[in-house]
């Protein structure tokens, strides 16, 4: 059963359509990445799911309930983008306030808060006012307040924003641990490499429309494109390969062979064997998530899963 589900979700700000009928589903225990350029509608989607913003049309469900209900919010954690924690709080008091609002008993808060501050590595600033925190520390604190009450679904909007590389790695590991414990993580991020490493499924929004959705493997797969290299000094018979109906191009110290629709690479392998050439490297080439994203940004994407 999907823990997050939207159906033809629309949101208009005046004449500007921020979401144009987005439908997606996130299963329990997934780390789900939402990608898109600035203004694509990522934060709007999260805000609708959390009841911060009202949809113009369509439906959104969270944990099986209409999104935004108070009872549902109790089971959800959220790290907003560009958050501004009240400067009068210390790290401890902010977590105490947040957890108390979620109904965590005082005794549990006393036990959990130091643990959580240690987990996100800001224990040394426990009783320091937040206005004295660096951006990275605030981000770590934000993550702590989002997960302290042990929510079933955690929305993280740009969680590594302002965090150094070591911190980013720690946050990635944290997300992986959360997935292992059965939490569902909904991640908004500009850092494509990060999403690629940690997310089970990814959706890409462009101008309020869902243009790609699927597993990372689905999105980055490029069927029918192979890289091959031969033993040193040997040369690919490009003309023979072309006669078989394949496209060939030199790529570095090897070649890139593109298959026609419905064909396999086997005829090329047989041709090389017949010519006595020694194959050293043959691998189907995958696109990076960045390639996919850039292609979508350039307007190449089409809506639908795994495309």
């Amino acid at each position: 059963m999907a823990v997050i589900e939207t159906q033809n979700l629309r949101k208009d700000y005046g004449r500007l359509a921020a979401l144009k009928g987005v439908s997606l589903a996130v299963e329990r225990g997934q780390v789900y990445g939402l990608l898109g350029q600035n203004g694509a509608g990522k934060t709007t989607l999260i805000k609708i799911l959390l009841g911060i913003t009202r949809p113009t049309g369509g439906g959104a469900k969270l944990l099986g309930e209409p999104a935004g209900r108070v009872e549902v919010r109790r089971r959800v954690g959220y790290l907003p983008e560009d958050h501004q924690f009240p400067g009068y709080h210390t790290g401890y008091s902010l977590l105490d306030f947040s957890a108390a609002m979620y109904g965590v008993p005082r005794a549990d808060r006393r036990r959990l808060i130091p643990e959580m501050l240690s987990l996100v590595r800001i224990a040394s600033a426990t009783h320091k006012k937040i206005k004295g925190y660096s951006k990275g520390m605030k981000q770590r604190l934000g993550i702590a307040q989002a997960i302290l009450h042990n929510p079933e679904v955690i929305f993280l909007d740009e969680p590594t924003d302002g965090v150094d590389p070591v911190g980013r790695r720690e946050i990635r590991e944290l997300m992986t641990r959360l997935r292992e414990k059965g939490h569902t993580v909904f991640l908004n991020s500009h850092l494509l490499g990060e999403v690629e490493q940690v997310c089970d499924r990814v959706a890409i929004l462009r101008d309020g429309e869902l243009v790609r959705e699927g597993t990372v493997a689905d999105l980055t797969e490029r069927k029918g494109r192979y890289e091959l290299r031969l033993a040193p000094g040997e040369v690919l018979p490009e003309a023979g390969v072309r006669e078989l109906g394949f496209e060939v191009a030199k790529a570095g110290d090897g070649w890139q062979v593109t298959l026609p629709a419905g064909a396999t690479v086997d005829p090329v392998v047989r041709l090389l064997a017949a010519a006595g050439l020694r194959l050293r490297h043959l691998v189907e080439r995958r696109a990076s998530l960045e390639d996919v994203f850039m292609a979508v940004a350039a307007g190449e994407g089409k809506a639908g899963a795994g495309r």
Partner: protein, 437 residues
Amino acid sequence: MKFLTVLKDSYREAVDGKVFQAMVVLAGLFILFVASISYRPLTLEDGLARKFGVLNYLLKAGGQAGAPQLAVENYRVTNGAAVPWEGDYELDVVVTCPDPKVLDELRKGNSPLPASAPAVEALLADDYYFLTNRTVTEVKGGPPTEARIRVTTRGTTVAEGTAWLHEPTILFSVPAPIFIDTLRTSVYKVEKYLVNEVGSRVLLLVGIVVTAGFVPNLLRKGTLDLYVVKPIGRSELLVYKYVGGLLFVFLLTTLTVGGVWVVIGLRAGVWAPAFLLLIPILTLYFAIVYAVSVLIGVLTRSALVAILLALLAWGLLFLAGYLNEKIRTVRQAEAKVRQALAGDRPPADAGPPPSAFGLPPWVETGLHGLTTVLPRGFDLDTQASRAIARGVLTAQEVEKERLNDPLPSWAETVGVSVAWIALLLGLACWRFRTRDG
């Protein structure tokens, strides 16, 4: 639990700005200032000497050569009373003048200077009417430059010390003879003018400034999401924030009014519980203005605009109430005059009364309508003054101060005010609930 959590959050916000601490210190200093005022019962000798001192100064300042001078001599409390209002007295009022002819003229004429027995009696009748069984006789045989009038009294009409003249001392050591009055009148003035008219306004002003930021800060971009994503309704959150601000002022008011009540009780021995009514009255007054501030805060997200419009609302409420009260007073006086002129005759149809202060009739009607439907800030002010007066003054004194005129009932004053608060908060909640983000 959520209520307490939000309340604690508001407390942190108020404390972080150091304004709360500053207000507590200010309230402490205010209480200390009131505590520095002591009230010394004035003996008859002191009272006369103060009066004669002023007269002597004025006579000398008149520049007349050989001006007469007044003094009190041979002062005695003949019954050895421990407190002045239980004393029997004997004293001489002495007028000396270098020129016997001038003195003779003073004795014969209708001079207000107490150079003769009738003049001294007139003085006592005016200022010391509470001294009973007075005998005033001129002592003969003195030098020609001196008039000596002997006064003896037996008993007073003063039953208790609060009705006796007292001289206040401020800042623990500075006498303030210009404020000499009966003890209860002095206490009434401190409570009415110093506490209710100055202290309470400063407190409300600071309360408005400190709490005006609560809602705009909550609505700040980047902060709002952190609050509204919590499992709490937006209206609930806003009302809790409102109550937090209200509690802040309630605590400050309780500290200030309670502290003043205690120090006045300790210093003057006047324990008037009615004075403590200022706590709920001021809190309700603030609740009205703060509801305006919250609504403006939700609409504009600006603490500055919230402060300015809340102050404007406060000023308009006061002005409307004040003008309406003035017109009402004029109308009452007119009615009394007409009644006196008409005597037992049936009232003639003189047409509509002329407009008060030359204002067009619609202004008077409009003001009356406004003060009827608007929150009752001015009525609360008046109720506070009356509570203070009733706690300290006698029934006659309350009558003399014209504090017995009819007022709208408490139920009406509180009811209309609370209805306005509910309306303003309702609007604020509706806007907060329906806004995106």
